[in-house]
């Protein structure tokens, strides 16, 4: 099994982002996805900053992809996307069909991120024909689903599964963090930066439910499929994906990459085990834990 790092979904300050990737570059993680995927108003890091990080990580032997925005709504965002696709060096992670279109036209290899709706083998194969080299399973699908997809004929594209972190569940035009601060989105003052792990939202019975992250809504519970890595390896998953949420990810990555497949199940949970989930993988509601 190889390991990958999902694009950072939170709005951290530039120094923290650089520190994080510097530390990550020293780990044995195989692949890193980089870029702003949530909101074009977040400008802590510019395109050239991401390129600098990409070069640094590549020099340390990491495979690097530049990730596209998930929700693309304006011509200026298309212009940015075109710049990303035409970077001349790195393949991209497409998180919207716009990125698929531009990458396939420019003959730039691309990964279909989990926000691209690929729910059956015929659709995945169509993407492969257009230049997709790797497929990341959509969040809400299961082990059984993946077995069905990979069983009949072994694909020539790679397969990746989101295995650890807070799951992106939805994207809206509305910025929920700005709304919480009673600020209009156009004058949001990037309040999402105050929430380095999103804004935890609970039911009126204090049950954690959602994690508001600007225009994105995430799961309050953290997906943890570390113990399923051996199962995934057997099915034919090539990459296991971890989504960044704090600098302590480094420690976890070191533990995982230092373990062989038989030792993974015994990795102790980091903390807050009461707030973990794995339901989707077992064909259950995503928030459940089996």
């Amino acid at each position: 099994m190889k390991y990958s790092l999902a694009p950072l979904t939170y709005c951290w300050d530039k120094a923290s982002v650089f520190d994080y990737y510097q530390a990550m570059s020293e780990t044995k993680i195989d692949c890193v996805y980089l870029g702003e995927v949530i909101c074009s108003r977040r400008r802590e890091l510019k395109f050239n900053d991401y390129l600098e990080l990409a070069h640094m990580l590549k020099a340390k032997g990491k495979q690097v992809f530049l990730s596209s925005m998930t929700l693309i709504e304006s011509q200026s965002e298309i212009t940015e996307l075109t710049r990303l696709v035409n970077n001349g060096e790195f393949a991209i992670e497409a998180n919207d069909m716009a990125a698929v279109h531009l990458a396939s036209q420019a003959k730039v290899p691309f990964v279909c991120g989990p926000a691209i709706n690929l729910y059956n083998r015929s659709s995945i194969d169509l993407m492969h024909n257009l230049g997709m080299t790797r497929f990341v399973m959509p969040y809400e699908l299961s082990q059984k689903w993946l077995e069905n997809v990979l069983r009949d004929n072994k694909p020539t594209f790679e397969t990746e599964v989101f295995g650890y972190g807070y799951m992106p569940l939805a994207h809206s035009a509305r910025c929920f963090t700005a709304k919480h601060h009673q600020q209009p989105k156009l004058d949001c003052k990037i309040v999402c930066q105050q929430y380095p792990k999103g804004l935890l939202t609970q039911t009126q019975e204090s049950q954690p439910l959602l994690r508001l992250n600007g225009i994105q809504t995430q799961s309050a519970a953290r997906l943890n499929l570390i113990d399923q890595i051996p199962v995934m390896a057997q099915i034919g998953v090539d990459y296991w994906r971890l989504s960044p949420s704090s600098i302590s990810d480094i420690e976890l990555i070191n533990q995982i990459t230092a373990s062989d497949l038989t030792q993974l199940a015994s990795i102790p949970p980091e903390n807050d085990t009461a707030n973990e989930c794995n339901g989707y993988w077992f064909s259950k509601p995503g928030m459940e834990i089996q």
Partner: protein, 337 residues
């Protein structure tokens, strides 16, 4: 501008045509569409009957196939496309690329509309679907402002359809996992959003608790108007503020009637009314009002704003069938965002 109305059964379809719909969209009685509620939708023979009625009245009929086929079960979706082609329906509304591929290869003359579940919000995404599958039209997700809709319409390679009235989905459609996160059922795979069998209302003294798969979505007083319990319209709290609040959206409906002139000027091809799960009475009510409003605009575009302001009956009729009896322009309006 076409007025496109929903039909959950033949009675609604007749109601829509009688009230002045130019076109109606419907789904089959299975998981090939994202409104697979019990007792709803059409058998193949009912669809043939609906098609006959539409053709007799010179109206249009679209088949909604807006779910993503499960691996190994694609044949049900392909059969639905075959059926639509055999009946010469006016369009099939699809989101999944394998279905668009199947339809465009086997039936090049069957018009394809890109479903809102495909979540195409920009010119590059629309160009992808046009180039690969020759789609004729796309339904826009409810995430664009009116300015963004106008800008997109200028460069779009295909006709555009927008949501005009009905339940307000605040997330980019087709990419929302809130229902499957809580209930396990996903609109993308043929379950509906917040399936009714997971909803439970519980009396607790003077309060009414609304639960979705036992998760508390909202607490209301006994006489408060209740919206349909979806995760995005619940009241929640944070550690900073333990007072429950609508942190995403309150129970409201979308009503874009005031935007008719701007949508017409932008060249929007079709105005879609949401609500295949609603009754024939709802379909009649909403279709009648929108027919009158569109006709009033076409007769006299310059006086439409004034007519709209003065026509209290239109407002009252639509408010009555709106969630929480409140309507909004939603994402079309920058302020809402």
């Amino acid at each position: 501008m076409e007025l496109l109305c929903p039909a959950g059964n033949l009675a609604s379809l007749k109601a829509a045509f009688n009230a002045g719909a130019d076109a109606v969209y419907l789904g089959l009685k299975n998981d090939t569409n994202a409104r697979s509620f019990a007792g709803l939708n059409f058998s193949p023979s009912q669809m043939a009957q609906a098609n006959k009625l539409a053709k007799q009245q010179n109206r249009k009929l679209f088949l909604t196939l807006n779910t993503f086929p499960k691996p190994g079960e694609e044949s049900r979706w392909y059969e639905a496309i075959d059926l639509a082609a055999d009946l010469h329906l006016d369009a099939v509304i699809c989101a999944d690329i394998s279905l668009l591929d199947y339809a465009s290869r086997h039936y090049p003359s069957l018009p394809l509309h890109l479903s809102v579940q495909a979540s195409a919000t920009n010119v590059a995404a629309l160009s992808f679907y046009k180039q690969q599958f020759n789609i004729e039209r796309a339904v826009l997700p409810r995430v664009l402002s009116i300015k963004q809709v106008r800008d997109l319409a200028k460069v779009s390679p295909v006709d555009l359809e927008v949501f005009a009235f009905g339940s307000l989905c605040i997330m980019a459609e087709g990419r929302c996992h809130l229902s499957s996160y809580v209930t396990g059922q996903s609109p993308n795979t043929g379950g509906s959003c917040s399936p009714a069998n997971h909803v439970r209302w519980q009396d607790q003294g003077s309060k009414k608790l609304t639960r979705l798969n036992e998760v508390l979505i909202d607490t209301t007083s006994q006489n408060e108007q209740l919206g349909y319990p979806v995760v995005c319209k619940g009241r929640y709290q944070t550690n900073e503020n333990m007072t429950a609040d609508y942190m995403l959206e309150s129970p409201t409906s979308l009503n874009t009637m005031s935007l008719i002139p701007q949508l017409a000027n932008a060249g929007i091809r079709s105005l879609k009314i949401e609500g295949r799960q609603r009754s024939p009475a709802y379909v009649t009510q909403v279709t009648q009002v929108w027919r009158q409003a569109i006709d009033a605009y076409l007769r006299s575009p310059e006086s439409f704003v004034q007519q709209l302001a003065q026509n209290h009956q239109w407002h009252a009729a639509l408010d009555k069938v709106s969630e929480g009896q409140i309507t909004t322009l939603g994402a079309y309006e920058r302020q809402w965002q």
